[in-house]
Amino acid sequence: MKIKITMRGTLKKYMPGEEYRIVEVPDNCTCDEALQCIGMNYREIPRFGFVVRNGKRCFIYDRLEEGDELKAWSQVSGG
């Protein structure tokens, strides 16, 4: 299935110059597995933040559907 992936904060460096990327991922995959399809293992990113599915924060192990928009955030400090 195809989904749209966006990077925010310092994670933008994983998709330099791209506002978003349409990615072919396994059906019913998790957010974690989808990110691994673009070579990103959140466990190895010290300041990885949270993931957002279709505009709503979700868990990294939540499953995706065809046409979903997945956004990954780095941590944002301060306020």
Binding site: T10, V52, R57, S74, V76, G78, G79
Partner: protein, 588 residues
């Protein structure tokens, strides 16, 4: 011991007699509390009797620097402004950026204490060891920006100016102090304390420096830390968007409050986000000694501001159902000029809008109406008509008019812009904060949402999260470091303090001082009669399920909320009533 990097001098200004005197800095306090926030609270505890009127002559106003102030340490240009709060009756310390802190340190002082009250409007000039009092009759009634402009034109840009607007003159509980036009000590009615002393403005110029034991070793290491840690990509967003970056993150995370904390998402967020802001941005600005430059200097129509920050944008936009970056900027300029805290002003107006929507009382402001919102700000500042009813914030207004369930404050200080039902720890954070609802104490949204390192919709384990974050910010702000240096840690703080003071500081010391600062703030409030029963949040959080966003439907339980308080008290060594035992007070 005498430590380097301090000026070892406190200036006391007796406003009643218009006399000044200096005294050595209490070095025992400096060793225990470092500077800025912690030092100010300790002096307040020492100087002021419990039960005094916050707007009376016995309340002191403290401007406090720290050992890092005036050094090249990045993000160290903050100044603590503290007093007993007229809004909450608690201690209150604010942090103001710009250049006033550094100039005060260069004038030769660690701290200035304004005591007593003058009988007529006055402005005070501090120029090294020359202190002078001047008639401010012509300035009284002017807005904050008008007053600063007139004074800087007369004295020159080598001076920093702290000033109040009409809201401070009229002793409003939501009044602030401005500096460098666009920086504010915002919260708890600190402007009214200055107004009660009839001080329209304080001008500060200093020509001295700060002494450290080994200037080459110190500056070399500071530069290394600056490049390795502060100018890292993790802090890049500060320069790129500043706090605008939080709009999207908070919306995605389900904690961007809307419609007076009824909802926590705004489908229109991308119409006033960082990308839109950049279209209006003229340039970037930073405080003295800043390495990050968070300030977005913007011009929209006639309105020129450094900002609006995230808090101001959320309070004036989604909270009031207004989708317009032009409005956010205009709101920002008006509240700054009138000398009102943008968070408290926005939340108070949003509450008034809901009062009208529910048919309880019509203050003349309605959701979605920009002009009504701007107009009532003037009436609030000058205490005119319906605006007078809102001039002291939501606690005072709701106790008179009803609507307490959705008057969003703790201890009389309006909520910052992080929705607790999307981040349960924030509810307890607002409740136990020593100055009322504040996001600069324990910012649990970071762990619960931005890091996703603990679950957001539970009370379990939150006492420890509250404590860890509160301790960290307490020492960070006592070092006078800016919140936005997000990657600084205890090791760096201890190393920097060791370099500049000549005294060995450890990471454990940072933890100890942070805990002590939390305790002295609570001890001050305890002496004023505050206990567990005052650590509250509005009923809305327990009654009304949140609407929209990832936290849709979330509501908190009172049992869970009380459990978070109990967890925190136990970690702090306080009793079940939230009180410090005497043996703990004796260590402070």
């Amino acid at each position: 011991m005498i430590m380097s990097a301090y000026q070892n001098k406190v200036l006391r200004i007796d406003c009643t007699k218009q006399e000044t005197r200096t005294e050595p800095l209490n070095m025992e306090f400096a060793e225990k509390y470092v500077g800025s926030k912690g030092l100010a609270i300790r002096y307040m505890y020492e100087d002021m009797k419990p039960g005094i009127d916050p707007l009376g002559p016995e309340n002191n106003l403290y401007l406090t620097t720290g050992p890092m102030t005036g050094t090249p340490i990045p993000c160290s240009g903050k100044l603590s402004v503290a007093a007993k709060s007229p809004a909450t009756g608690t201690m209150n310390d604010c942090s103001i950026g710009g250049h006033a802190g550094i100039r005060l340190k260069f004038a030769g002082y660690d701290m200035v204490v304004f005591e007593g009250q003058m009988d007529k409007p006055t402005y005070i000039v501090i120029e090294d060891d020359k202190i002078s009092f001047h008639d401010a009759a012509d300035l009284w009634g002017k807005t904050s920006h008008e007053a600063e402009k007139a004074l800087i034109e007369e004295y020159g840009t080598e001076f920093s100016c702290l000033s109040i607007g009409p809201a401070g003159e009229n002793l409003n509980n939501i009044s602030c102090i401005n500096s460098d036009y666009y920086r504010q000590a915002g919260r708890g009615g600190i402007g009214a304390v200055m107004g009660s002393k009839k001080i329209k403005a304080i001008l500060i110029k200093g020509t001295q420096g700060v002494k450290v034991p080994n200037i080459k070793e110190t500056t070399d290491r500071i530069l290394e830390i600056f490049h390795e840690n502060c100018l890292s990509e993790d802090n890049e967003f500060v320069f790129d968007e500043g706090t605008y970056a939080f709009l999207e993150a908070c919306n995605d995370g389900g904690i961007l409050p809307a419609h007076n904390f009824s909802a926590a998402t705004d489908v229109n967020w991308d119409k006033y986000n960082g990308a839109v802001m950049k279209k209006y941005r003229l340039g970037k600005r930073g405080c003295g000694s800043c390495g990050l430059g968070c300030g977005n200097f913007m011009k929209v129509g006639d309105a020129i501001v450094e900002g609006p920050e995230y808090e101001t944008t959320a309070a004036s936009g989604p909270q009031c159902d207004i989708v317009s970056i032009e409005h956010n900027v205009r709101f920002n300029q008006v509240v700054d000029d009138l000398g009102m805290d943008s968070i408290s002003a926005g939340v108070t107006v949003a509450w008034a809008m809901e009062m009208a929507e529910k048919g309880i009382h019509d203050f003349g402001v309605h959701f979605g109406n920009e002009e009504e919102m701007i107009n009532i700000l003037y009436d609030m500042a000058y205490r005119r008509g319906e605006g007078a009813e809102l001039a002291d914030g939501v606690k005072v207004a709701s106790e008179k008019w009803g609507g307490t369930d959705f008057a969003m404050h703790s201890k009389g200080l309006e909520f910052p812009q992080y929705e607790p039902r999307g981040s349960f720890g924030m509810a307890a954070s607002y409740a136990v904060s020593d100055r009322g609802a504040c996001h600069m104490r324990s910012y649990t949204a970071n762990e619960e949402v931005f890091e996703a390192s603990c679950p957001p919709y539970t009370h379990e384990g939150k006492g420890q999260v509250l404590y860890d974050l509160g301790e960290f910010n307490a020492i960070k702000f006592s070092c006078c470091l800016c919140d936005l240096w997000g990657t600084v840690d205890y090791a760096i703080m201890a190393e920097l303090l060791t370099l500049i003071t000549g005294k060995e500081w450890t990471e454990e010391d940072m933890s100890t001082v942070g805990r002590r600062v939390l305790n002295i703030g609570r001890a001050f409030n305890q002496r004023e009669g505050f206990t567990r029963e005052h650590d509250t949040v509005p009923e809305r959080l327990f009654k009304d399920p949140l609407k929209g966003g990832p936290a849709d439907g979330q509501v908190m339980t009172k049992e869970g909320f009380q459990d978070m308080l109990s967890q925190y008290y136990e970690i702090m060594g306080w009793d079940e009533n939230g009180c410090l035992p005497q043996e703990l007070i004796d260590t402070l």
